[in-house]
Amino acid sequence: MSQSHRPHPTPKQYVQIAVVLGILTAIEVTLFYTESIIGVFTDPLLMVLAISKFIIVVGWFMHLRFENRLVNRFFVGGMILALVLFAIVMLERASANFFFS
């Protein structure tokens, strides 16, 4: 059904991608337990790892990188709207704390 022209990965490549995802998860858990050593960099590193896993699954397992541009726009559009919502709520919360604390 896929209407893309670029070939999808082979089963062997899917397994390799899954191994990478497993390694990234192991690194995440390691970072959690080494927070006292890594300090303030832990949370940003955890976010980078989560975003990397997210992109790998969406791009390769969901085949978004092989899909029609329209699909990409809808999916990225949903992501942007969710992030805007998050930013608005956090800004409102920050301003409420600033004015009422």
Binding site: S2, Q3, H8, T25, V29, A50, F54
Partner: protein, 193 residues
């Protein structure tokens, strides 16, 4: 007509598939709202026990790994159906459903443990947002497992699956991977940060 007997659409993509992706983008907003609500209360001080006092990171890490690997079995099922390999398709679909069931069993066990330790739905508003967020994700996994079982049943009745028809493996695969990416975010935001 394309390879599967559906007419070419002006958008360049089959309408049903486009509809599935639009549905997933609305799901992003749904979970985005729940995650935002959870983050508003995370880190604030409330009466009662906190998640950090009861969770078991090694256990949840294994659950996360199980769900991650279910995405692999799902994509292997999709690959097998593209090659019209019915036997492998059924094996990988069954494996995906089983891994999903293992994840759900883990979540039920985890929730039970939290409840016995005092971290309940009503302990405080932070507890409520945690259970609503992870509970809705669990409900999505449950729906995914049910869809996979129905798909396997349809395959048995029709003597094999294809990429055509209403109960389409590709759409269920997209839904399953989506459930996985939501957990990737939740595992980091709820448990690790």
């Amino acid at each position: 007509m394309n390879d599967h007997g559906y007419p070419h659409e002006p958008t360049g993509i089959e309408t049903r598939k486009l509809g599935m992706w639009i549905f997933l983008s609305t799901e992003i907003l749904f979970f985005g709202t729940l995650i935002t609500t959870y983050l508003i209360f995370k880190g604030r001080s409330f009466d009662g026990i906190r998640l950090e006092e009861v969770y078991d990171i090694p256990f949840t890490s294994v659950s996360s790994f199980v769900l991650l690997m279910s995405s692999l079995t799902m994509v292997l099922a999709h690959n097998a159906i593209e090659k019209s390999d019915q036997e492998r398709t059924n094996i990988w679909l069954l494996a995906t459903a089983l891994l999903g069931a293992v994840f759900l069993a883990g979540q039920i066990y985890e929730f039970t443990e939290f409840y016995h330790k005092g971290f309940t739905l009503t302990v405080n508003i932070y507890g409520s947002t945690f259970y609503v967020l992870t509970g809705f994700h669990g409900a999505h996994v449950f729906i995914g497992v049910v869809l996979l079982i129905i798909l396997l049943g349809v395959g048995q009745r029709q003597k094999g699956l294809s990429l055509d028809g209403g109960m389409n493996l590709e759409f269920i695969a997209l839904y399953w991977h989506f459930v996985d990416i939501v957990w990737i975010v939740l595992f980091t935001v709820v448990y690790l940060i």
